[in-house]
């Protein structure tokens, strides 16, 4: 099974005095849904871009199953915040796009794409144009597209950030179902505390200047949802509320310290 390892990663933009990320180490393996939570400027997106291979780290090593990451590749699927779908293709062709790039014959790749659309509850939307979809539907197509290429790990860059609260909750539950069924390790970044606590098996809290990990929590609310408990019951569980408040306090204490540093 896939194992993603980050060893003492630092990242710096060319010309910038301070690094965006310093000394990040983490592992992501099977059965894990790792959520990186932090305020803006804590280097969440930079971390995802490093793992995806869009940018190279200034120090440290990223490996997937022992193979160093040296650029973007199909073994690390990415779901973007603003869907990044191709409007000149219909929904089915978008989902099958990764397989088309890999040279899979049309019938085979379309069959796979149909399966993936069914997995994200979009069966029957094959021939729709991208601009006819709602925000939540576009994100589902983005998820199906990433999954259809059968990546080893799935990277998600604030995938529900632009959705309304109601759609967001639906999408969170859908993600947990898909994660359970596809059995792929997921790395997700968000700035929504409740989302982070609900989804993650592993929650890392990032603090800015430079981005570093301040806390690593092991949680099981997502697994409880997968085991059949309802989302509402979990979210009103005192333990859930307690965890959420704890994380909230940590985020606020960070902000306080940042403010004191600046003062």
């Amino acid at each position: 099974m896939a194992l993603l390892q980050l060893e003492r990663i630092s990242a710096q933009y060319p010309g910038a005095a301070e690094p965006v990320l310093s000394d990040i180490s983490l592992t992501l393996g099977p059965q894990q849904l790792l959520v990186a939570l932090g305020p803006s400027g804590s280097g969440k997106t930079s971390l995802l871009n490093l793992i995806a291979g869009f940018v190279a780290p200034s120090a440290g090593r990223i490996t997937l199953d022992g193979v160093p990451v040296s650029g973007p590749g199909a073994e690390r699927g990415v779901v973007f915040q603003d869907d990044a779908l191709l409007p000149w293709q219909d929904v089915l062709a978008n989902v099958a796009f990764g397989l088309e790039l890999a040279g899979v014959p049309r019938e085979k790749r379309e069959a796979k794409a149909r399966d993936m659309l069914a997995l994200v509850d979009l069966a029957g939307f094959e021939k729709r144009r991208i601009w006819e979809l709602s925000g939540g539907q576009k994100q589902r197509v983005g998820l199906a597209r990433a999954l259809a290429a059968d990546p080893r790990v799935l990277l998600m860059d604030e995938p529900f950030g632009a959705l309304d609260a109601f759609t967001r909750e639906q999408m969170q539950e859908l993600l947990l179902q898909v994660w359970q069924r596809s059995a792929k390790p997921v790395f997700l970044i968000t700035h929504d505390i409740e989302e982070a606590v609900f989804l993650s098996t592993d929650l890392i809290l990032l603090a800015p200047n430079p981005g570093h990990i301040v806390e690593h929590l092991k949680l099981d609310f997502g697994q409880r949802y997968s085991a059949g408990e309802s989302a509402r019951a979990i979210k009103s569980d005192p333990r859930f509320i307690e965890t959420r408040e704890h994380v909230l306090a940590r985020v606020f204490s960070q902000r306080q310290s940042v403010r004191e540093q600046r003062a």
Binding site: G73, L86, L101
Partner: protein, 281 residues
Amino acid sequence: MSLYPSPEPALTRAPVQTAPRQPSSLYVSTRAISVLTLAVLLGSWWLVTALEWVEPLFLPPPSAVLEKAWLLMTKGYMDSTLWQHLGASLQRIGLALFFAVLTAIPVGIAIGHNRIARGIFDPLIEFYRPVPPLAYLPLIVIWCGIGEFSKVLLIYLAIFAPIAIATATGVRTVDSAKLRAAQSLGASRWQLIRHVILPSALPDILTGVRIGLGVGWSTLVAAELIAATSGLGFMVQSAAQFLVTDVVVLGILVIALIAFALEMGLRALQRKLVPWHGQNH
């Protein structure tokens, strides 16, 4: 309610109330206004010639131009029928456009995509583009003679620059998220160009073709005014020398009609090929 409301109540009424489509007021579509404008123009042409306010030598009546059109289509003018003149012009612009599209799009992609290609082509294109084609026509005639090749080359050069520049702009403004998405799905360099960059730049490329065709058409007619034995520009030029005003007017009308048809055709093509353009996706 009366069909023609008097102006006073409209003035006293607050302007906030006027909705774009009020059932009671006279709503005329934009297209109808355009048609009406043309009709008024044609009507006044007919009126001033019918009342003989203007000498037919300066402005022949519409009927004379129509008669001449029939004559030109059946018997011809200067050894060629109207169709042959039209065919000669269309062939020149068609050939030039074909080769311009074939070469300018790859060059534009290279400029937008590759630093070295930009360094090579950008100054070359920007250097010759502002020069009016008629200014370098004499040089082309000295080098390549007055045959078909010179005319096609001149039009080709006029069309090339707008298409290459528009393509390069389109390539440079490709959404980086789409590029990254394709890369993370395993796209190679060529697949990126084929599946993401080219379709993204297509609206700009088509706009470039529209601009290029406009420039090319005016260059064509100008080139035919100077050195040709057939073509619409030649027809107008030689008719003017003999003061055959109705042929001149007819030639101008045909030139305008063709340019208009080409533009409308390209707009339709743009709507068909890039239906996502302008959609908020």
